[in-house]
């Protein structure tokens, strides 16, 4: 793990009780990152949506059924023990995806990618998408493309970058202002700023003054039961997806509803009952 105190650890917490599933984050992401669209986008396996909103249900029958929405960007995994060996990074033969030890962001370099899609197979969150076709915009629409993000070509994999170009802009701005600090609101992802419900909170998990740090309260110690799992939240309402895999995502979810928290992982019979009450890490109380 990087010991440099200055290293950032950008992360996100999404309040599933505030999320209305409106899709603003998805569209904001598509508009920000030059994501194309096709005539038919109903095959969700080839529909490029870096930020995808899933609808989840408690599985009960009428009238006890309950539903909620779960937005899923790239989880920016730190890998086992948070050493930067994210599932996708370790399998990439082209170093087209890499772990940024100074930001905690998992990058994707399109021009290096040759489309083997190992990373897609390795990703437990289906956060990666393959460009089966070249992007085509209807006549004139390419005029709205942003110069900050290069449009991708067929044959490469793409995914959420935590709007890395916004980080670059914020860094340039900080350099221009002759400061070292990047203020919390100077670097926010497109989905965060778009969310009309304010359900997404983005910031530096390493910075105690950032809102995300205060909500997530990341545990400085590894999980005593599973040393691969670090940065576990000490907030009992906060969870991560498939946390016990040890992928150490930097995207956290928050809900007061137990059934939603339980959906964060696959539990064997009785397992949930054991963990649900000391959900955060064992050291949190």
């Amino acid at each position: 793990m990087i010991q440099d105190k200055k290293a950032h650890m950008f992360g996100m917490v999404i309040d599933l009780d505030k999320c209305t599933g409106c899709g603003s984050c998805t569209v904001s992401c598509m508009a920000e990152n030059n994501i194309p669209f096709k005539e038919d986008e109903s095959n969700k396996k080839d529909s490029l949506t870096w930020m995808r909103v899933y609808k989840v249900s408690n599985g009960k029958s009428f009238p006890d059924t309950q539903t909620a929405y779960l937005p899923r960007p790239c989880q920016h995994c730190g890998g086992k023990g948070d050493h930067g060996h994210s599932p996708c990074v370790t399998v990439c033969p082209a170093t087209a995806t890499d772990y940024g030890y100074d930001t905690g962001i998992v990058s994707q370099i399109y021009t290096r990618c040759f489309g083997c899609r190992y990373c897609m197979a390795a990703c437990p969150y289906h956060a990666r998408y393959f460009n089966w076709w070249d992007p085509v915009w209807p006549e004139g629409m390419e005029k709205y493309l942003s110069p900050n993000v290069s449009p991708r070509m067929r044959g490469v994999v793409e995914k959420c970058s935590f709007c890395y170009h916004r980080y670059q802009l914020a860094r340039e701005q900080a350099y221009y202002n002759e400061t070292d600090e990047i203020a919390e609101d100077a670097y926010q992802t497109a989905c965060t700023t778009a969310c009309p419900a304010g359900a997404i909170i983005f910031g530096d998990l390493n910075n105690p003054s950032h809102k995300i740090h205060q909500i997530v309260k990341p545990d400085p110690h590894p999980d005593p039961l599973n040393h691969d799992v670090v940065r576990k939240s000490r907030n009992p309402k906060v969870f991560r997806l498939l946390e016990r895999l040890g992928t150490n995502p930097k995207v956290y979810y928050m809900s007061e509803r137990e059934w939603i928290r339980k959906l964060g992982d696959s539990y064997l019979n009785g397992e949930w009952e054991k963990v649900k009450n000391h959900y955060g890490s064992a050291s949190h109380d």
Binding site: D17, K18, S28, A31, S42, E142, Y144, P147, R152, T193
Partner: protein
């Protein structure tokens, strides 16, 4: 030369060594990797100076402030504008996708005129003079009232200019589409007298009782509602949702109370009865009641006994009572009417009954309550100059009070009742129930002029299209509506020059008026729309142009308002669902699909779930219990008295047994491969039913059945 084994191997090895040493291989590999990384067909967006323009989104009645990021002169991204009184940062997906509308494949790029069933381009000058000539003939024939006009709303200066034109021309036949705002205004007018409308302080209310309003699915001003909902937990404010299916709002609510479709009005009446009987109404506020509170009370107790309403609505009597009491005992309760987005077919009885609950609690014109607001007219229109023809025509009887009625009258009459029809920013050929009736009526009307940005169903059914600029290309004042507590006017300003040969609707109308000459031209003495707008809003122009918005009512209204119960005391009938099939089809409002004008953007359609649209087929929500004998995901034929359609079944535990839900806003048939031809327009399966009290369509559903496809 003899090739033996030795020389063969020698040559072979030599070749291998040669190839290995030669730079050709490396060069070719290098070239091919360079070549494969050249993608000339992938656009490289040009870089430039970043700037931000402020404007207001007009895609829905929400009135959200937006900021548009531009690279040099290209708008690249829309985001919510911070410190705007309505949305205060944040925007919905449709607003964010707004730039796509600039270059939408279905945009009308130049004025078009239909010749022998085909649209042909025509210049603005020719189009205007042709239209002016036609209008001149109508006036020569002393029948100016055969010009009719449909606009999306009657608020704001653009709708005002259409109204002004109709007045100067001499026709009383200006009708507007039914919106949440028009329903709220009608409700306020019925209960509190004309010139009022309703606003809800949902940011502060501590108990929201929603009678099917898609509170976080596009009802009212969506972003403002999302924010009010997000702060509920912190404020400890409750939300109860009463509707037949587990909508997103119901799922987010503290309680979801499933109710039989179309019985919300009865429930609200019964709840009024409970409040009156249990003495849970505000006696101080009751002193402002007119028109027989006692008569209303007696009627409610007699016609809406709890047990009977429990049977009609499918909610237990105990539950109704408990909910009514919880509502009445809350400190700041607000009941909100309007199913789904609250536009289109709704019931005045239901709106009035729900608002009566608000009146009874006395939480009117108070923080966290319902505001009975005066409709503030901030527009200083000069009196139209009218000649004798105009005055005579204006005095004639209105053909219809609503768009629905206009369509019916045109279709029923043997003679042409309307000679020329203007349609602005409305798509009745798609949004009305039984929209093909509107298409038929439009065919029957000799000349239909569509002021439209897009080649939608209504534009396709018209004879001339005057293409108007989108909200990113023009000025417009946007008054807040749709139940917002504040009274704000926002200013939409052009962030980019018109991409195509389009004009602002105001400019088109001013030019048309000038071409008509005479008193009509005298009524439109402005040079262009921009100067017209400045002249119309003298009091607030300074604030508008400086801040992008102006508050027209500084403070929320206070004090008691008079409430007249006469309408409800007469017990207007509840609209029954048409048909005698066993199931009920109801439209679903999905936040990601626009059901009015304009149609959804490609980005919005991309986000739609594959349990709503798969390939070209639409799914309908149905409870597995109801769909016994059918397969989840299987095709069925859905039949209603209005028609039938092939749909797929989405087994869904979140919908009442016996109810089928179909998403609104799909099944477009204009030319746009990203948006059109997907699914079915639910309104084609629903027949209009006119509610006696309002004279408006109140069919919020219809009886249906499913059979093997």
């Amino acid at each position: 030369m003899k090739v033996d084994r030795r020389s063969f191997l020698g040559l072979g090895l030599g070749a291998v060594a040669g190839i290995a040493i030669s730079p050709v291989g490396a060069k070719l590999t290098d070239d091919s990797s360079i070549w494969t990384q050249n993608w000339p067909w992938t656009p490289v967006p040009p870089d430039g100076k970043i700037s931000y323009d402020q404007s207001v989104c007009t895609l829905c009645p929400g009135t959200c402030g937006i900021k548009v990021r531009k690279i040099d002169n290209r708008p690249v991204k829309i985001e919510g504008r911070d410190s705007f009184p309505v949305n205060n940062g944040g925007a919905c997906l449709h607003g964010i996708a707004g730039i796509q509308y600039l270059y939408d494949p279905s945009r009308v790029k130049t004025p078009l005129k239909k010749n022998n069933g085909r649209f042909e381009p025509i210049s603005w000058e020719d189009a205007i003079s042709l239209l002016a000539k036609r209008l001149g003939k109508i006036r020569e024939n002393q029948s100016p009232d055969t010009l009719a006009c449909i606009t999306d709303t009657d608020l704001g200066s653009v709708a005002g200019l259409f109204r002004h034109f109709m007045a100067a021309f001499g026709s009383p036949n200006h009708v507007t589409m039914p919106t949440l705002e028009s329903w709220l205004a009608l409700t306020a007018q019925t209960l509190h007298g004309s010139g009022h409308t309703l606003g809800f302080d949902l940011d502060n209310a501590d108990f929201i009782l929603s009678f099917g309003a898609g509170f976080i699915e596009g009802w009212g001003s969506p972003v403002a509602c999302f924010k009010a909902n997000a702060s509920r937990k912190k404020r400890d404010a409750k939300l109860y949702q009463i509707e037949p299916r587990l909508s997103t709002t119901a799922a987010a609510a503290d309680r979801w109370i499933p109710i039989n479709p179309g019985t919300q009005a009865d429930l609200a009446m019964a709840m009024c009865g409970i409040l009156l009987q249990e003495n849970l109404f505000d006696p101080e506020f009751a002193t402002g009641f007119k028109g027989g509170l006692n008569r209303f009370n007696a009627m409610v107790q007699q016609k809406y006994p709890l047990e009977q309403v429990a049977a009609t609505t499918g909610i237990s009597a105990a539950d109704i009572k408990k909910t009514a009491i919880a509502f009445a005992k809350a400190k700041m309760p607000v009941a909100i009417p309007g199913k789904g987005r609250g536009n289109g077919a709704q019931s005045l009885k239901e709106f009035a009954a729900v608002h009566t609950l608000n009146c009874l609690t006395g939480n009117i014109n108070k923080k966290g309550g319902t505001f009975v607001k005066p409709v503030h007219n901030y527009l200083a229109f000069p009196d139209p100059v009218q000649d004798t023809v105009a005055r005579k025509g204006r005095a004639r009887k209105k053909i219809a009070a609503s768009v629905q009625e206009l369509v019916t009258k045109v279709n029923q009459s043997d003679e042409p009742v309307v000679d020329t029809l203007f349609v602005y920013n409305a798509n009745p050929c798609y949004t009305l129930n039984e929209p093909m009736q509107a298409v038929k009526a439009f065919e029957k009307i000799p000349f239909v002029v569509s002021f439209s940005s897009f080649m939608d169903e209504t534009a396709l059914s018209s004879d001339m299209i005057l293409p108007v600029s989108t909200f990113l290309e023009r000025f417009e004042d946007v008054p807040s509506k749709a139940g917002l507590a504040s009274s704000v006017v926002g200013l939409t300003s052009p962030v980019v020059d018109p991409v195509f040969n389009t004009r602002s609707p105001g400019d088109a109308l001013i030019r048309l008026a000038k071409a008509c000459g005479g008193t009509i031209a005298q009524s439109f003495e402005w040079d262009n729309y921009e100067t017209c707008l400045k002249n119309l809003v003298p009091g607030i122009w300074k604030a508008l142009s400086r801040d992008g918005y102006a508050l027209v009512l500084q403070a929320s209204p206070t004090g008691r308002v008079e409430t007249d119960f006469a309408f409800l005391a007469d017990n207007p009938p509840t609209i029954q669902l048409q048909g005698d099939f066993d199931l009920t089809l109801v439209p679903i409002d999905n936040m990601r699909v626009i059901s009015t004008v304009p149609a959804s953007s490609p980005f919005a359609i991309k986000t739609v779930s594959d349990r709503v649209i798969k390939n070209k087929d639409i799914f309908v929500e149905i409870n597995p219990q109801t769909a016994k004998g059918f397969k989840n995901g299987g095709f069925v034929t859905l039949t209603t008295p209005a028609g039938s359609a092939k749909v797929r079944l989405d087994f869904n535990e979140g919908i009442m047994p016996g109810v089928i839900g179909m998403v609104e806003g799909l099944g477009h048939w204009f030319d746009n491969k990203y948006v059109s031809g997907k699914g079915v327009n639910v309104h084609e399966l629903i027949s209009p039913v006119i509610e006696p009290g309002s004279g408006l369509d109140a069919a919020s559903g219809i009886k249906a059945r499913i059979s093997k496809a």
